[in-house]
């Protein structure tokens, strides 16, 4: 498997067969037992009857990416499995559990020479009143991994309590039957005992983590228009914003959503919306408005494969260009990218802090992989990044006309008057304006305000959080977003081979940081750019703004096929200086 430290299990089934639920239960049971884990999902667009798979990777150490291959593949049924066979790689050492009544395993299984063990999941389930094949699959996987049967049953009882006693009993019996049948299946690997740790641990998705990070950063208003794969951010915020005394408003479309958060932020409330590519496209005009009117807002863009409707349920890093360059005119704003499930919390909180501090829009470029992945992680540390907007304090009425909302002197960020503040009345405007906010078409004011909006972002010190830089090898793997964890794992393997590399992943994509970037690459002669886009958007963005060493290579391809750690590892080891 190329990795003796982790075991990976894939559950496959047609939509509604329970593949996702089963994976979630396995992850939670293993996490409760003390292991680390990551679950990602791959589904078709249909709600029912399409293909669905949950991919669970468990280890004694934190897990941030998918494996190269799956050790165990369980087909609850194979009805539509061929549609994503390529996403679930198996090898000659893999164990495939197949129900003879569930159809044929996809051709990739035979091609890989994987060992297939037939288990009549459906028939076994039928023997149990209200029994379901996925619970038998769960029992098999839990047994093969060495999870304690009683602990798994306790968890299921808790999770299914609201489904009634019969359902709980059926599940318990199904799991038991799975354990029993798995006793006869040879599987030569075990996870080993989990490492003892006193750390508080969470089981959380990237989308949920982003939502909590937003609230921690001070967000108290969200506008919501549902879109896959971002909806969970909004669904988590709806009740929790209310608990925090805030509001979530469902918008009629994404045009309304972004304008609602601009209005709320104008009123002094830190505000956010979450969307994906098609929604971001609709929001771009108002993104320019927030930039010009200097209204802080946060947009979480959970990227999916594009263009157009693309593949709504699957990941890609193709929104970089629109996030950075989407606006007409020169409209500098913040673009940041979380690097793991847990980092969705920090990065969204940081984005809120930056937006509020700099009175500018911030886009958080998450993606389907990290947004919808669930992971057992150590509780992210509390950080002090809480939005603190420079506000105008009450002025005497007679000096009201002296207030310059968009003053360019005396610092780069000008205090913002919040409605209700006496003497601070001004009109926020998307028209080119004077320092007071009065519309103008003069060249002088235009340049002055363009300079102001650029300079306030450029002059700010973003600290060490701007990028992850690890190691000191000459060969630098330069990547971003959710691929950071994959690159980290590839680099660790290369180190085991005796090859030292540097991991360099900017968290801050805009504004660019020429000095810090040059310092990070000082003396390096080889750079491997790794990204998931068809047009190598990240590489071209870097080329536009930074000096890369002459010896630069690119590993880039579109979604939805994940880039595996072995691919990066191969690119490293095959690159002889």
């Amino acid at each position: 498997m190329g990795d003796s430290q982790s075991i990976s299990v894939a559950f496959v089934g047609s939509g509604g067969a329970g593949a996702l639920t089963t994976g979630n239960f396995l992850l939670e049971a293993a996490s409760l037992a003390g292991w680390h884990g990551l679950l990602t999902r791959t589904v078709g667009a249909q709600i029912r009857g399409g293909e669905a798979a949950s991919l669970v990777r468990l280890a004694r150490h934190p897990v941030e990416c998918l494996p190269d291959r799956f050790d165990i593949l369980i087909g609850i049924d194979w009805l539509n499995a061929q549609r994503f066979g390529a996403e679930i790689e198996v090898g000659p050492d893999s164990l495939v559990i197949s129900d003879p009544k569930g159809g044929e395993p996809p051709p990739v299984v035979a091609a890989a020479g994987a060992r297939v063990v037939e288990v009549p999941l459906k028939d076994m389930a039928k023997a149990i009143p209200e029994g379901r094949p996925n619970m038998i699959a769960l029992g098999i996987a839990a047994r093969l991994l060495g999870l304690d049967a009683a602990a798994v049953s306790t968890l299921i009882e808790k999770r299914l309590a609201d489904k009634g006693a019969t359902a709980v009993e059926a599940s318990r019996k199904g799991i038991e039957a799975g354990y029993k049948v798995a006793e006869g299946i040879a599987f030569g690997r075990a996870l080993g005992s989990p490492a003892a740790s006193a750390a508080r641990r969470w089981l959380v998705s990237g989308n949920e983590a982003a939502a909590l990070g937003a609230i921690r950063g001070g967000i108290r208003f969200a506008a919501a228009y549902p879109i896959t794969p971002a909806t969970e951010v909004l669904e988590w915020l709806a009740p929790n914003l209310a608990r925090m005394g805030g509001v979530l408003l469902q918008a009629e479309d994404e045009l309304a959503a972004i304008n609602m958060i601009i209005g709320a932020s104008f009123g002094g409330t830190p505000s956010l919306t979450a969307t994906s590519g098609p929604g971001l496209s609709l929001m771009i005009e108002a993104l320019g408005l927030a930039t010009a009117a200097e209204i802080p807002i946060v947009i979480v863009d959970v990227m999916r494969a594009g263009p157009s409707t693309g593949i709504p349920t699957k990941s890609e890093q193709g929104d970089l260009n629109i996030a950075v360059y989407g606006c007409h005119g020169d409209a500098p704003h913040l673009v940041v990218a979380p690097q793991s499930v847990g980092d969705c919390l920090f990065t969204t909180q940081w984005a809120t802090y930056l937006a509020e501090t700099l009175q500018a829009p911030a886009i958080v470029l998450s993606d389907q992989f990290v947004g919808q992945a669930r992971s057992a992680i150590e509780r992210p540390a509390d950080v002090a990044f809480i939005g603190q907007r420079a506000k105008l304090t009450e002025m005497a009425t007679e000096v009201a006309t002296a207030y310059k909302r968009y003053a360019t002197a005396g610092g780069t960020v000008s205090p913002m008057a919040i409605p209700g503040t006496r003497g601070g009345q001004y009109t926020a405007d998307g028209l080119t304006h004077t320092e007071r906010g009065t519309p103008t078409s003069g060249a002088g004011d235009h340049t002055k305000q363009l300079d102001k909006r650029r300079d306030k972002l450029a002059a700010f010190n973003y600290g060490d959080h701007w990028a992850t830089i690890e190691g000191d090898g000459d060969l630098t793997v330069l990547t971003w977003g959710s691929l950071t964890g994959t690159a980290r794992e590839a680099i660790a393997r290369a180190r085991a081979d005796g090859i030292a590399c540097t991991l360099f992943a900017p968290r801050l994509l805009a504004p660019v940081q020429p000095e810090k970037f040059a310092a990070a690459l000082a003396g390096k002669t080889r750079v491997l750019v790794v990204e998931q886009s068809h047009g190598a958007q990240f590489y071209r963005y870097l080329r536009a703004h930074y000096d890369l060493p002459k010896d630069a290579r690119v590993l880039s391809r579109p979604g939805p096929l994940p880039i595996r750690p072995s691919e990066i590892h191969d690119a490293i080891t095959q690159w002889r200086p």
Partner: protein, 278 residues
């Protein structure tokens, strides 16, 4: 609601900014601005407690001409922006200014949902049945035979009926005004702002540059012959069958405005993490 402070009550002039309007001489919108400042003074609100929100077009220039807080946003989205402001700042008085292009064409969808949502705000559409800022193209309220460069010989498309659409969508207060009748418009605006929920005031506001024929509106308008009703079906029937120049408050509803609670947190922020703890 804002409490009045110890300053003397504001006069209409206190609500007027020192920015000179870009409107053409004779534009109906000057009168609307006058009615705005008079209505604000009558309401006894200090200017900093009022937010005037707009989109793009001649009418949407109005926020900067007041001495209130203002937002001149993008084309067609003023109602959405105002919704975000009002639900988070229910203490403010929110007035949205728009025109027939901004409000009924590019902003049409937001109009439906703002009526439906019934947030406590007042929506003023200055209807001149033409795109003025872009020099005379047909809007959703332009007559089908009206000849323009973009629609030689007329659009051939019937105008739509904003007041009926507002009723069907759930607006809580519907009125029609004529910009030239400043006293009546002022009174109507005061009532619209005081009325809870989403109040919709259409103001016929002539564009003397691209629709010189609208100078005639002065002689066409007349007070609505009957008092306002609280029955939307009755109001819709009346509006559908009137001559389009009935002036006055046509509908007063009593739907409860939408305002989710805002304020202090009911939990400690750390409690939110409990969802995730293993």
């Amino acid at each position: 609601m804002a409490t009045l402070d110890n300053r003397l009550a504001c006069k209409p002039a206190d609500f007027k900014s020192d920015v000179n309007p870009i409107w053409c001489p004779g534009c109906g919108d000057y009168h609307v601005l006058l009615s705005f400042t008079r209505a604000f003074a009558q309401l006894g609100l200090p200017p900093e407690r009022i937010a005037v929100i707009s989109g793009i077009g001649c009418s949407s220039r109005i926020p900067a001409y007041t001495n209130c807080y203002g937002f001149h946003g993008v084309h067609g989205r003023s109602l959405a922006l105002a919704a975000g402001l009002k639900v988070t700042r229910p203490d403010l008085t929110v007035v949205v200014a728009s025109g027939d292009g901004d409000g009924y064409s590019i902003g049409g969808n937001h109009f439906l949902h703002a009526c439906r949502r019934n947030i406590d705000m007042t929506y003023v559409v200055m209807d001149n049945r033409i795109y003025g800022m872009t020099k005379g193209q047909p809007s959703p309220t332009t007559e089908p035979e009206f000849d323009t460069a973009l629609s030689p010989g007329g659009t051939g498309v019937s105008p739509f009926h904003p007041l009926v659409i507002a009723l069907a969508s759930g607006a809580n207060f519907v009125a029609r005004c004529f910009s030239g009748e400043i006293n009546e418009t002022t009174t109507t605006l005061v009532e619209a702002i005081r009325h809870p929920g989403f109040s919709f005031v259409e103001i016929l506001s002539p564009c003397v540059t691209f629709r010189p024929d609208e100078r005639e509106w002065k002689s066409l308008v007349h007070p609505a012959p009957v008092a306002a009703t609280s029955d939307p079906a009755k109001a819709a029937r009346r509006i559908m069958t009137d001559d389009g120049f009935n002036i006055g408050i046509l509908y007063r509803g009593n739907r409860k405005p939408y305002q989710p609670p805002v304020g202090p947190a009911s939990v400690d922020i750390c409690d939110l993490e409990k969802d995730f703890e293993l």
